[in-house]
């Protein structure tokens, strides 16, 4: 039985929490606000918070200068593609680890995670050469393959922790009911694990969307996602704060909106399934 907090204490907590929340959120808020300013207003030594002349000019300019929607499509294709491909490979693997564990299962899981600890730069040159020689450089396919492999350990681990919460007896019941292995996974395990799979999907879309090592180093023009789009604004060219803000807002808005709309899955996904 939780006790009722006093009104006064609740008010103080609310005030402090909102204060801290706004401070943490402030850089994003400031970016969004600046994107609606003129370039002159954006570098005003006495910046105005809300009372300035709002303009959409920056968004138009940015979109003209670098085709936003092409990059958006690339980002979406790469994030979705690598996550779905990862799930297809990881679901059977996680089934196996969760329901027919062997003595080495834990070690295997740890080994998978440890591949993620390999510094990407250590293998950048070979991967670059392999991609170049197989014609996958600067293609969506190439990035999908690379990001699938990069995030596979995380996907396997998350699914494993979610699957382990499903009682093995239910899968045995399906086996007794005449289900083959594939129908057991398709009709019983997967639907039961939908919340966990949704969280995994969401988190990995975010990770893939924001991945900025491979996406920067393996693309040039054709397959460049939003990370590359924003990188083209990193070299200073005079007064560009407002345009930079507009580009930044456009790069992060899809994921922010997606994340906020699926907050429940995101919160669960962010814990990587490791904490209940």
């Amino acid at each position: 039985m939780a006790r009722e907090a006093t009104k006064g204490r609740k008010a103080v907590t609310t005030l402090v929490a909102w204060g801290i929340g706004l401070v943490i959120f402030f850089p994003i808020l400031w970016t969004v606000l600046t994107s609606f300013k003129t370039e002159v207003e954006a570098v005003n030594p006495h910046p105005s918070f809300l009372f300035f002349d709002w303009t959409f000019e920056n968004y138009r300019t940015v979109n003209e200068r670098s085709d936003y929607f092409v990059h958006f499509a690339n980002s979406s294709a790469i994030a979705l593609g690598s996550t779905l491909l990862g799930l297809i490979i990881a679901i059977p693997a996680a089934w196996s680890m969760a329901f027919v564990p062997g003595k080495r299962t834990k070690d295997l899981l740890m080994w998978m995670l440890s591949t993620k600890m390999m510094p990407a730069v250590g293998v950048l040159v070979p991967i670059y050469m392999l991609a170049r020689d197989s014609g996958l450089l600067d293609t969506r396919t190439g990035l999908i393959i690379v990001l699938t492999l990069v995030n596979l350990p995380i996907i396997v681990w998350m699914l494993y922790t979610y699957f382990k919460e499903i009682p093995g007896e239910i899968l045995e019941a399906a086996r007794m009911d005449g289900a083959t292995l594939s129908s057991e996974i398709l009709y019983v395990l997967t639907p039961m694990a939908v919340p966990g799979i949704a969280s995994t999907l969401l988190l990995n879309i975010i990770l893939a969307w924001n991945e900025s090592f491979w996406t920067l180093n393996l693309t040039a023009a054709n397959a460049a996602p939003l990370t590359a789009f924003i990188a083209s604004y990193s070299s200073p060219e005079g007064l560009f704060y407002a345009k930079l803000s507009a580009a930044s807002t456009m790069a992060i808005a899809p994921i922010l909106i997606l994340g906020w709309f699926s907050q429940k899955q995101l919160v669960r996904g962010l814990t990587f399934g490791a904490v209940k």
């Binding site: 027919v100 295997l108 990407a120 293998v123 900025s212 904490v275």
Partner: protein, 290 residues
Amino acid sequence: MATQASRTAGRLMLSPAVVLLFLWMIVPLAMTIYFSFLRYNLLMPGTEEWAGFDNYHYFFTDPAFWPALVNTLTLVIGVLVITVVGGVALAVLLDQPMWGQGIVRILVIAPFLVMPSVSALVWKNMLMNPVNGLFAAMARGLGLPPYDFFADAPLASIILIVAWQWLPFATLILLTAMQSLDQEQMEAAEMDGAGVFWRFWHLTIPHLMRAITVVVLIQTIFLLSVFAEILVTTNGGPGTASTTLTFLVYVQSMLQFDVGLGSAGGIVAVILANIVAIFLMRMIGKNLET
């Protein structure tokens, strides 16, 4: 507890993931090891020759090596300390009853959703810029001289940015763990006359240990490869003040086109990462038994 048939099926279904990851690990790694023993510069194609351990020698004697190693550890440990301590504090705060908890949670999560290059650009230009940044404007408002973050404290500034990105993650995991804290145990301790701080140290913190382990594990994985934040803000400088191992190797292989040297550095980075990994896995393995 299963039949031979399902164990066989299990192995079959596990193998694609294992084989793919194994190839993903071993093929580039083997190539990198091979390159690391070559004199191999992309600017001088066709001049590759066996170099023995020269590249390793050059890498270790590179004046940037030790600073890079120290910077890497400082970055990882700095961010871990800030996010774990801040995360525990925020989790305790957000666990209290309040109005609009859902909205506060959204605000706190947001930085995690921002791509690293964007957050680096935003912090560098709009907040920390000594002329046009908001912090400079605030300093001026208070009558103070503006502070040039990336010139005077480059590594600390990068740590601040990275910590901002990862604080939401630590907070959320710890908050989730807080919510599974046994209230009866807390009340029993209170009945026994335990004070707020005693309960925090002896009940809350031990309960959070598993969650803290997860935070440390996952964040270390991602922090060892912090890249875009450095590239966008300081480019490793001034001098080597904010160069990490990852960044040093990147500079050598992609900017100086010295594949041999870069590969040797890559191998050193891999070995160091593995030492960290083994250490972490030991620790995690104990804490993750379920």
